[in-house]
Point group: D2
Chain length 369, copies 4
Amino acid sequence: MAGSDFGTIFKITTWGESHGSALGVVIDGCPAGLALCRQDIQVYLDRRRPGRSKIATPRREADEAEILSGVFEGLTTGTPISIMVRNTSQISRDYGEIASCYRPGHADYTFDAKYGFRDYRGGGRSSGRETIGRVAAGAIAAKILKSMHIDVCAYTCSLGPVRIDPERFDREAITDTATSMPDREADARALAYLESCMKEQDSAGGIMECRVTGLPAGIGDPVFEKLDACLAKAIMSIGAVKAVEIGDGILVSQRRGSENNDPFITRDGIPCKKTNHAGGILGGISDGSDILIRAHVKPTPSIFRPQETVNQEGNPVTLQIRGRHDPVIIPRAVVVMEAMTAITVLDAMMVNMSAKMSSLTNFYNRPRA
Amino acid sequence: MAGSDFGTIFKITTWGESHGSALGVVIDGCPAGLALCRQDIQVYLDRRRPGRSKIATPRREADEAEILSGVFEGLTTGTPISIMVRNTSQISRDYGEIASCYRPGHADYTFDAKYGFRDYRGGGRSSGRETIGRVAAGAIAAKILKSMHIDVCAYTCSLGPVRIDPERFDREAITDTATSMPDREADARALAYLESCMKEQDSAGGIMECRVTGLPAGIGDPVFEKLDACLAKAIMSIGAVKAVEIGDGILVSQRRGSENNDPFITRDGIPCKKTNHAGGILGGISDGSDILIRAHVKPTPSIFRPQETVNQEGNPVTLQIRGRHDPVIIPRAVVVMEAMTAITVLDAMMVNMSAKMSSLTNFYNRPRA
Amino acid sequence: MAGSDFGTIFKITTWGESHGSALGVVIDGCPAGLALCRQDIQVYLDRRRPGRSKIATPRREADEAEILSGVFEGLTTGTPISIMVRNTSQISRDYGEIASCYRPGHADYTFDAKYGFRDYRGGGRSSGRETIGRVAAGAIAAKILKSMHIDVCAYTCSLGPVRIDPERFDREAITDTATSMPDREADARALAYLESCMKEQDSAGGIMECRVTGLPAGIGDPVFEKLDACLAKAIMSIGAVKAVEIGDGILVSQRRGSENNDPFITRDGIPCKKTNHAGGILGGISDGSDILIRAHVKPTPSIFRPQETVNQEGNPVTLQIRGRHDPVIIPRAVVVMEAMTAITVLDAMMVNMSAKMSSLTNFYNRPRA
Amino acid sequence: MAGSDFGTIFKITTWGESHGSALGVVIDGCPAGLALCRQDIQVYLDRRRPGRSKIATPRREADEAEILSGVFEGLTTGTPISIMVRNTSQISRDYGEIASCYRPGHADYTFDAKYGFRDYRGGGRSSGRETIGRVAAGAIAAKILKSMHIDVCAYTCSLGPVRIDPERFDREAITDTATSMPDREADARALAYLESCMKEQDSAGGIMECRVTGLPAGIGDPVFEKLDACLAKAIMSIGAVKAVEIGDGILVSQRRGSENNDPFITRDGIPCKKTNHAGGILGGISDGSDILIRAHVKPTPSIFRPQETVNQEGNPVTLQIRGRHDPVIIPRAVVVMEAMTAITVLDAMMVNMSAKMSSLTNFYNRPRA
């Protein structure tokens, strides 16, 4: 069925395969009057672009965004914004082995089971390149949020055993380092770890986090469109994510109520929480504190050591993966998490606009009868 | 906005507040011809009914389901099934304190921020009683799945520091024990722990798990309606859940690819995985192995020791919660997790029916031109 | 599939059969803070209630609405509003003939074809009683619109050959007359016509119209959620409607552009149209003029003269319909048209709130960065 | 809001403006395994392509479709199919007048009212070129339906006063004639009429019809996703359509029940209707007879004679439209009607697949427990 769209009012539809002619996204429901140019998109795409460091796949893609519609004289018009990125670096080669056998940890078998066959070139639709459309759309959502002084920031939290030290948090490092870590010291250690993984023809997993600051209280819709539920779906839909936490997440299951409750205090006359174990969401609605989301990402399934598996005929084979693969997914997935979070939060803000009668009647400037 | 419905083809809409006159659900898109009676629903509702043990709120509710539509001569007709449960035990009392102050860990403040005011009686819509509609709908989904030999089973995995031993897994214990643990020995220890919490006027968190067996490969729709993404939303939408894991979940972030990949083998001529770190989902599509989901649940925010907070005017107050509250949420939330999982999986199976051209043309019995 | 919900932000889900225990609706996404009581709903339900005149079915139903949730201390809370009407006048009798044969003009055969069997009592879900939920929801939508000085008014335009004279338009007559005509003189002639139909054991069709005044320009979303497209769906979904017109409707196909174009002029400094052939909608968006919709309704298929048809075994039978049936549907369908129009227009207003960047940033009171 | 997508399982999202760089569509939910090539799309696009006759705009567009994703080795893969058509004939010129004034009958004013400004080049998103995406998607839907022996055929029924004679119905003439009339004799008379309109700097309206043959009974979902309701929305969403009829449509309002009811008979052992006043739909569900839909289309609002209107400042101006415009919309809109009908019917067939328990259990080949 149609599973490639996300959102209610700010809705995105992504399309494209790893080795097809192009990938892209249609963003529908973007408000009119936003200043938008190709470069706004490109900055985000460059953050997920391959070939930037030795721990990323050497596949070289320009990943140049083209805005095909929805922008006129530098402003969004309120109509669908179509963005396309041409694939340019599809290496023509023999996919024989991948075409006929099931790579462990990949979606080869499940696509065959569902659709009867698959586009096996580079993973087809299940490739990480699918996220190009998400990131392009996220660039727009983030720009809108930023104009309302709402900031969305994702970063690498850990790679294998190497964890960042929050005390050393350095935002610029996120885009500077190869690991997308906000801690240059941890970055150095993580790189050393990843090199050892590569030497052993192996790959690593890790944790990424995303923080939303400046979001007003009141966003999110009980009971199924809760902000945390929507974020969980958004983040779990990113390939390789196997767990999602909100706020203190997994720690809460070991706590007592007296430890975990965040007392309310008042700041500038507005109720707020003294601590933020909840991660900025109570009852599925934002509470004015920072939103904090954490995602656990599995190690890249494409490893270069020989693996046992079966082919389409069900016969055992030894698989030797070749080609270009990241030893770790996170550094390039961080911007995808940021994009999905921005899209989710913005959409929730839009659908929230009619939550009160007074909002509706004031908006239409019609004092209630 | 409308946030109270869930699902695409098998769609549920829940309604009702803790202390309103009734709660319920409309199930739309249920196939015609399912044998269904009140008792099918009641069995599930009884699993979440309060007042069954000393670790559950002493509020006594019969929680009797009434089927108002969609069933004729014992069979579903394909039209909406409306199910209602009357509230009978709303204790009439002074809500003054709760009405005017913000309980830590509750949604009092966020509902006020969103809607301008709230039904403060017993938590209103943010009460755990909201899940009655989910469970009633889940009973139907589970019955349909069972008729296709697909089993959904949720249980308590841990309460505070007490964890079940998978070696002692005893399915009957889930519904027998007060903790919903499938391990009677762990149940006894958990009860002792909970009593100590209660004595200290405190509460406990825990972990619950859900396993789906018998699900065919091919269910779930890339890239936003992935089965794991839909499950994450479904489970995170349950009040008090703060983290969701699929398969090995948080463990994968520390693993190497060579440890985490599940090799494919062949069983009865069908490809399957030798291990199941992935939890039965690859690329967002079921792979034929068991689906495994884990949820981390925070301790009940309603604790009886005095707490610091503020009231609606922003003034600090000391809150002394009274009334009837579970010291731990999980034992009664387990059936909610089971319900949400069953609904999610069934809906994904329905939307999958037109994934292949051959499925469509065979269904309409019209050999392709 | 789930076909019983309508709307995006203001969403309704109806349920119930003609002879089941109850019928109802869940309204989700209603803004918080609307004063609402049972009587607001009842006034509308009474307009579609049977048994009020000799041209309506003598079935007596109190059709008393019960509000089960979503209202607290006289105000909507923003959570789902569940409304139920108990059936009280189901006559217990032998449905043998209707159960086994296919009534011409009814949905008996198509329900059997789709679902394998049907609730044959009084038409089941395909009965006109299904509209109770729509009308209850429409009462709320209309009240919200009225608070913004937007008026929705539907009425009977013609019954068989008898047409109202717009010069004699008398709004009170709509609710006073048995025909729901806004013209007492036409009402008298229509009643005479209907009596002649009844004498001949026959039934009549007719036309109903709905006018929306006070709607601001800018409502409706190109290209598939155009206001006229949404209204067409809303009105065509009412049983027995076979054609929907917007503005001058069918007349435009015979016109020339120079006749049909509405010139723009300025009134109170605001552009508006000199004429309104367009019926208040241009490019799918409201233009500030009155919205005008017209629906053509077929004659009641239940007639008392013997009819030829076949039974479930495919054998020819002569059908003699008994029971209680309106000789014309329109007088009671008028309020359904009004309800569906109000729901459609309100929902379109809600989703329009984020159409401009300035709307979004002003709403959240955050001057753009 | 997001208004550019249509459908539930077979979902399309269109994008693009008249004078932007490209237009297109994403088709999501297309079953895997359909043979599909560029030419399948092109044949349909050529039917709406301008510049083919003297009664169509002389704008020359190749309208060449490019399939960007979702097809592998000649077969659809089940993933989103992205189709793009580059604009090549945007004449660069002074839009000054159109940019600042409101053309009667156009959406200039309403887009300004909604979005604050508009892309005024050639009508922007409200241009007829928007339908390119619909037609490309419709080509796929029609191919799928054809493979199940279901035929969708739209044609011009009347242009101004000239009507086709059903006795002379000649299917090939639809694509052969400049008017898309299935009657060459009427085509000749219609052309003469249109020339007289053009001479008088005026335009004409007309009626188009669409017939679906071979659709099985049981398609369509009560009560809001009725097949006729979905078709009404689909067709009314086409620019310039002002009325939609099903079956005998507007005629039914003048009929008696005894005239309008279609008696059931049996053909090949299957119940069917002796007549088809209903247009193949009863209770919102297909009944096995031909589906018949009729649309009334207004005359092209762009006429070359001077018109009175106002500009954005609200001052009266005399407008002299220049450029390239069809004197009548219908001949090129016929394929759009065919496309929207095919998409609607196919989607309804897909969502119908789980209507019965036996369908579900048989599909998953799991005999019911």
